[in-house]
Structure formats: structure tokens, C-alpha cells
């Protein structure tokens, strides 16, 4: 069963999808841009997701969750106007530098290859105030699940 959403933009689909994911709403993820194969997702600073209580730097796990979510959205953009569930197969993150304390981070995720069964994504995370500062970089693969009823998530 194939569901088409030509009446809804990629950005709107991404935003609806994130709104349906409880953990991502807890992280206050905000989809800022969505085009043919890539997305930009912002994660604000929250005391609750601090990893080191002495330095107040964001936890690597929260950054990982942001990247995983953004990667899935990049895949959704590439699959558009169809919508599929795409569970993560694997993901690797390199933490380049600790982000500036008290500010959020922005993840750019790009689907660089969409095969019949697998979504291939690269992502980079930058500081909110200094977007030239790379915080983390990652690569992930996702499985395309052409499930009936997948549209219920976004509609």
C-alpha cells in the first residue's frame, strides 16, 4: 500500500512526524528546513539533557538521538511523496567537540543514497551560535518498511 502526500509539504510531514514521536518532543526538536534529500533540525539547550553536571555540556546521547531522528527525516524527504516507516539499522557518531554551554545545536542530515530497501544518511551537528563549529558527525542506515497504515503517523 502506497500513500502519497502531494498536498502536504516535506517540511509539514517532518514536523507532524516529530510531533508524533514522544521522545523527540521531550527533546524539543524543531524541524527548520526540509528539501529533496535533506533536513535541518534544531535541538535547544535544556538543563534536563546535560551530561556532565560540572561543565553543563549536553549529553552525547541527546545529540545521538537528535541525529538519529534527523537522519530518519532526511530519508522521509527522499521517499516523499510516499511515507514509510524507516527503523535505524546502524549509526555511528564521532563527537568532534563539546558544544557551547547554554545553547542548542543544529543537525544537518542528508540522504545521499536511497536504494530499494535501504536509506543511507550522513549528518553533521553544529553549534547554534557558531554554525561553523562542528560538534558531531555521523553516518547511519535505515530500513525501508513499506507498511500499510504508515500514513497514520503523519495524517
Amino acid at each position: 500500500m502506497t500513500i502519497k502526500h502531494t498536498s502536504i509539504s516535506r517540511l509539514e510531514i517532518c514536523r507532524r512526524f516529530v510531533a508524533s514521536v514522544r521522545h523527540s518532543t521531550e527533546l524539543k526538536l524543531d524541524v527548520r528546513r526540509a528539501d529533496e534529500t535533506s533536513v535541518e533540525v534544531f535541538m535547544p539547550f535544556q538543563e534536563a539533557i546535560v551530561g556532565n553536571p560540572e561543565t553543563r555540556v549536553l549529553h552525547g546521547g541527546a545529540i545521538f538521538a537528535l541525529m538519529d531522528q534527523a537522519g530518519g527525516l532526511a530519508g522521509a524527504c527522499a521517499i516523499y511523496p510516499e511515507f514509510e516507516i524507516t527503523p535505524t539499522i546502524d549509526m555511528r557518531v564521532d563527537h568532534i567537540r563539546a558544544p557551547e554551554v547554554g545553547y542548542g545545536v543544529i543537525c544537518h542530515a542528508e540522504c545521499y543514497r536511497l536504494s530499494q530497501h535501504v536509506v543511507f544518511v550522513r549528518m553533521n551537528v553544529f553549534e547554534e551560535r557558531h554554525p561553523e563549529n562542528l560538534v558531531a558527525t555521523g553516518v547511519a542506515t535505515y530500513m525501508r518498511m513499506k507498511l500499510p497504515g504508515a500514513n497514520e503517523v503523519v495524517s
Partner: protein, 153 residues
């Protein structure tokens, strides 16, 4: 590393404080709801079923990022307790393989230090829900072990 943390680690090792005290000082660990179960000196980390960690609302399934964060934090605490002279582990890289759907129920994790070098540690983490022999997620990570603050990494 602050003296307060060094003291806390020693108290946990000596049984004067519960291991949970190491979790509770980390805001993100509380955000996920991580718990530590100790069987003697063997540690099993628990991510209790919690609706704030849901990723797929229709299955429902846990968010892969929440499971990964749980595994990363478990490895950090495990390392803190494993090192003779504890240093703050900072994640260099983290690699996760998702093997099965993480259902909406309690998740467990165990860690193994594959190599503890002077500056870098390699840790393997396995997470399961039903039985150990059916992991939902396996991960490996490298941590930088240094005395510096995180900003100086």
C-alpha cells in the same frame, strides 16, 4: 575530575553509597530514568518503561536515540567504576547496531571493557529486553580518559 565525584565513586565501590547515586548526579540520566542494579559487583543497567522514551507511537517502540543514550550513559558509569584511578570518560565515538525493535518495556544493558588504555578506553555494550541471548541493540564506544574539562576536549 572533582573531588566530590572521586569521593562518590569510592563510596559506591565500598558499598557506602548505592550505585544509583552516580546516575542521579547526571541530569540526562534522570531524564531517561536510568537505574542501576548491582549483583555483588556485577552491574546491570535498567531503562524502565517510560512513555517519554517512546519513538514509534503505533507499535509502540522505544526511540533508538533513547536506547543509545541509555547505553552510552551506562558505559560511562561502568568505566568510572572500572578504572583504578577514575578519570572522566568523554565519548570519542559511539556505534550502534539495532538488531530488534525495542518494545515498550523495560530494557537492560551490560557493559564490557575491551581495552582500557592510558588515554582511550574501548567499551562494548549490549542491551536486551526478554533475554540476554536476544539483544535488541549492541554498541561499542571509545572514550577519551582525561583530567581536562569537557570544553577542552
Amino acid at each position: 575530575m572533582t573531588d566530590a565525584l572521586r569521593t562518590l565513586i569510592q563510596q559506591c565501590r565500598d558499598g557506602e553509597r548505592p550505585y544509583q547515586a552516580l546516575v542521579e548526579r547526571v541530569p540526562y540520566a534522570n531524564f531517561l530514568g536510568i537505574e542501576v542494579m548491582a549483583q555483588g559487583q556485577e552491574l546491570v543497567f535498567v531503562l524502565p518503561k517510560n512513555e517519554t522514551n517512546v519513538g514509534n507511537p503505533t507499535l509502540p517502540a522505544l526511540h533508538g536515540g533513547a536506547v543509545a543514550g541509555f547505553m552510552e550513559q551506562s558505559a560511562v558509569i561502568f568505566l568510572l567504576l572500572h578504572m583504578g584511578e577514575p578519570r572522566v570518560p568523554k565519548t570519542i565515538d559511539f556505534t550502534v547496531d539495532y538488531l530488534r525493535a525495542g518494545h515498550y518495556k523495560d530494557t537492560y544493558a551490560e557493559c564490557r571493557v575491551t581495552r582500557l588504555g592510558r588515554r582511550v578506553a574501548n567499551v562494548q555494550i549490549i542491551a536486551w529486553q526478554t533475554r540476554r541471548s536476544e539483544p535488541i541493540t549492541i554498541a561499542r564506544a571509545h572514550f577519551l580518559l582525561s583530567e581536562e574539562t569537557a570544553q577542552e576536549m
